[in-house]
């Protein structure tokens, strides 16, 4: 069907609600698994013995399992259920292909199963929310393509001319997630279980957080907003407060969100311009986010009394309110001075869970309570039980986020506290951790309450559907026929789009260092504005206007959405990717940052596999307090050979960027086997399996070959010498440990990891640095 159509005949259709039921079932079941794993993580931080000294249950491995499960399994399945159900109603047609719907449904569960099996085994890329290895990434891409084909096919055969704003949000989700996921996961496979990303160091960090931030934006936010715009009016039985505001909300949100990723990298070695860009656009996000929240809440004008008795509305209202809280807190945390205090602390964990438990979790609960009875032609088993779920969940979230706020601010202040002599007040890390252990207990309690509520929902929904037959809704729809209308191509290359593009080009040329070019660009910009105004005036006299057509042309609409998100991505990523990687030299003419030796490279893979990045950063910020604690601020070139980067985003343990300057092999040996032996009060897990798990040094040369292909300056001659070099360096460590009185196999993972840890922070300072403002901006006090 096309944008403009006329009624021809009517027909009766049956919606495909079986796929909706399937996604709901998997969301609820995977959700409880993901949250129980999260609860175990929370208890492990309070009671390290709960790591059970077992590799596949250790915190560094199961924390990524928790995040992936709740993001892609709980929320993913929930949003697919909402999209499939609401889109069929809004488009007045059954999904175009039942087969593709099933490929999506079961393919997605296979991916989740793959994640549940591989992540505890330490098979990971170590990029947050993108941990899955290359073959699972390919599965994600294929299933997503099946979803996209089915969705756009359905759009093409729809029996409704206009696309409601919820559909816009769904389209933006499908397009943007595809772009983000593919770019961030570009990698070269080593074997079936391991790959190396094509980006390294700062480029990798920028790409990862462009993805990571926008995974939150376009997986956890935009589709849920679409669900809000459809189901909140349904539940409240009144139209959305302002459809106009929803349009502003949509375009502003998708345009701004894509630029804000670098706020995850403030005060790192990322160039300052990228940090400023991320902060600026993050602050601008306040406007559309709160516009959307208010639009949702004001939809209940005149119907607030229903919130008292309707659990669905309770969950929706609280969910939208948590959305407002999280989207206020996010830009706040992206202000550099606030980030200086809050980054790497539990404050970020509290912020994330305010959004995940409050916004995503409550919107999911509201959706399920509304939808499941309808999908079985019955009523909810118990509204009172749903109310109990609501209050348990609400108190659980509040306990969780308040405890994390207190813990985060406490950590931020203790890290920078100085005594009267100017020395660090709290140099011992265990003292810092000990101060917040009560908050970790409270966090676990909050999480447990939330999970109890979720279990009550499972039981309530089970009682609702038990013994009932599924009902696939039917509707009589008018089949529309195609009539003449502008084609998608004509719409994409129409005057509004061309004028906007020319305006963008002219604006960019304003900043050239040539006065004549800038003057011509300014004149062109004025001319374009006049043309745009004239075009706007003439459009007012037309029966149908440009955006009216765009709203009914999914292809043209999708292209414009793609342009909006790609514009942000290009300006954010391209300068960093185009930077020439020059190998910095020292004043003495030596290479300042040497590639890792074969042993260090293998040890780095152990570090990645064990998820050390989950608790340790490798990025010293330019604050005096951090210099006193860790050493000189990190420089951009220090991670230039890191595939993937390991800057981290959380410091449950101290930063490790210069740990090699601090401890020797014997200290690391004792610490890895029993952290509390070297640091009383530490909450780090023990790693006994590293002593028995082996590396095959004969295979290390293959890793060197891939690294060379990715631009790391290994010489070809080094490939065949890799095993020999490995054994030489491992032998030195083994001898030191033997002299210390312990017997260690030189092929053990522990020796390789020690080799890597000893290397950290031992690069020499280059005579000139490449775009390393963190090192050249001067040191700032962390306040």
């Amino acid at each position: 069907m096309t944008d403009t159509a006329v009624a021809a005949s009517t027909k009766r259709i049956t919606y495909d609600d079986a796929v909706v039921r399937g996604f709901i079932l998997f969301s609820v079941v995977w959700g409880i698994v993901g949250m129980l794993v999260g609860l175990l993580c929370a208890f492990q931080l309070a009671f390290p013995a709960l790591n059970f000294d077992t590799s596949f249950l250790t915190f560094g491995r199961i924390r990524p399992l928790h995040t992936n499960a709740v993001i892609f399994a709980l929320v993913g399945n929930m949003l697919f259920a909402g999209i499939y159900h609401s889109s069929q109603r809004l488009l007045k047609t059954r999904m175009a292909s039942d087969l593709l719907s099933r490929v999506h449904l079961y393919g997605w569960q296979l991916i989740i199963l793959g994640a549940a099996l591989t992540l505890p085994l330490g098979i990971t890329q170590s990029k947050e929310y993108a941990e899955l290895e290359w073959w699972l990434d390919i599965m994600v891409a294929l299933v997503w393509v099946a979803f996209a084909i089915n969705y756009f096919w359905t759009l093409a055969v729809r029996n409704e001319k206009n696309l409601y704003v919820a559909i816009w949000f769904y389209i933006a989700t499908i397009i943007t997630i595809a772009v983000l996921y593919i770019v961030n996961n570009l990698a070269v496979p080593l074997d079936g279980m391991k790959s190396y990303g094509v980006f390294a160091g700062a480029q990798d960090a920028l790409t990862q957080w462009w993805y990571g931030h926008n995974a939150v934006a376009f997986f956890l936010t935009t589709p849920i907003l679409g669900i809000m715009y459809y189901y909140l009016p349904k539940a409240a039985e009144r139209p959305v407060y302002s459809y106009r505001l929803s349009i502003i909300h949509f375009w502003a949100l998708i345009f701004i969100y894509i630029w804000a990723g670098p706020h995850h990298l403030l005060y790192t070695a990322l160039p300052d311009w990228a940090q400023s860009l991320g902060m600026l656009f993050s602050l601008m996000l306040w406007a559309p986010s709160w516009g959307g929240m208010l639009n949702g809440l004001l939809t209940l004008r005149g119907a607030w009394h229903k919130v008292r008795t309707d659990p669905v509305l309770k969950f929706f209202v609280a969910g939208v309110t948590f959305y407002g809280m999280a989207t206020f807190e996010g830009p706040l945390l992206s202000i550099k001075s606030v980030s200086a205090l809050g980054h790497y602390t539990d404050w970020i964990i509290g912020h994330v869970h305010g959004g995940a438990l409050g916004w995503n979790g409550f919107m999911a609960a509201g959706l399920f309570y509304w939808l499941v009875p309808k999908l079985y032609g019955t009523k909810l088993h118990s509204s009172k039980l749903a109310d109990v779920h609501f209050w348990l969940g609400t108190f659980g979230i509040l306990i969780y986020i308040v405890s994390m706020w207190i813990s985060g601010v406490t950590h931020g202040l203790m890290w920078r506290a100085e005594n009267a002599d100017g020395a660090l007040e709290y140099r011992d890390w265990a003292t810092i951790i000990d101060a917040v252990i009560p908050m970790y207990h409270l966090r676990a309690l909050g999480g447990a309450l939330y999970i109890v509520g979720w279990i009550l929902m499972m039981w309530n929904l089970w009682k609702t559907v038990a013994g009932k037959k599924p009902v696939d809704a039917e509707a009589e729809v008018t089949v529309l026929e195609k009539v003449d209308a502008p084609s998608s191509v004509r719409l994409i290359f129409s005057r509004p789009v061309l004028l906007s593009f020319l305006g963008l080009v002219a604006t960019l040329f304003l900043w050239r260092n040539n006065v004549i070019v800038a003057a011509v660009a300014l004149a062109a910009l004025v001319f374009i504005c006049v043309l745009a105004w004239l075009r706007y005036q003439s459009a007012q006299r037309e029966e149908f206007r440009w955006h009216d057509y765009i709203e009914r042309r999914p292809l043209a609409f999708s292209v414009l959405v793609g342009l909006a998100i790609i514009a942000g991505g290009v300006v954010e990523l391209l300068p960093g990717l185009l930077m020439t990687r020059e190998v910095p030299m020292t004043d003495a003419g030596k290479v300042a940052v040497k590639p890792y030796t074969p042993l260090e490279l293998e040890g780095r893979d152990v570090y990645v596999s064990e998820g050390c990045y989950v608790c340790h950063s490798q990025m010293i910020r330019p604050f005096l307090s951090e210099k006193k604690r860790y050493g000189d601020p990190s420089r951009i070139e220090e991670s230039m050979w890191d595939h993937p980067f390991q800057w981290g985003s959380k410091r449950t343990g101290p930063d490790l960027a210069r740990v090699g300057q601090k401890y020797g092999a014997t200290w690391h040996y004792e610490h890895m086997l029993d952290p509390r032996r070297m640091s009383e009060g530490s909450i780090m897990p023990k790693y006994p399996w590293l002593l028995t798990d082996k590396i095959d040094p004969a295979k290390t040369k293959h890793k060197l070959k891939i690294m060379r292909a990715l631009g790391v300056p290994y010489e070809k001659e080094e490939f065949e010498l890799a095993e020999q070099k490995y054994r030489e360096q491992a032998g030195v460590i083994v001898k030191e440990l033997t002299d210390y009185g312990v017997d260690v196999d030189e092929d053990s993972k522990l020796v390789a990891l020690i080799g890597y840890l000893l290397r950290l922070g031992k690069n020499e300072k280059p005579s000139t640095t490449i775009a390393a403002p963190a090192a050249t901006n001067g040191e700032r006090k962390g306040d």
Binding site: E160, E237, Y536
Partner: protein, 74 residues
Amino acid sequence: MWKDLFSSADFMSLPLVTLFLFIGVFVGVACWTFSKKRKSHYDLMAQMPLEGRPHDGFDSHRDTNTNTTKEELR
């Protein structure tokens, strides 16, 4: 062209370029959206999720398409 542009650009000015660009687009979209002539269209669009709405679009004279069943209304 892009490489040349980025290599010669002062990156600190990029946020300013993008800020002005965004404000321009935002003002344009806001003006267009809040045009008084479009109120009736938006009122109708806002009804789309609700069953029994009178019609399904701003050119409602062309068709009605709202016949949902009991199952759908339930």
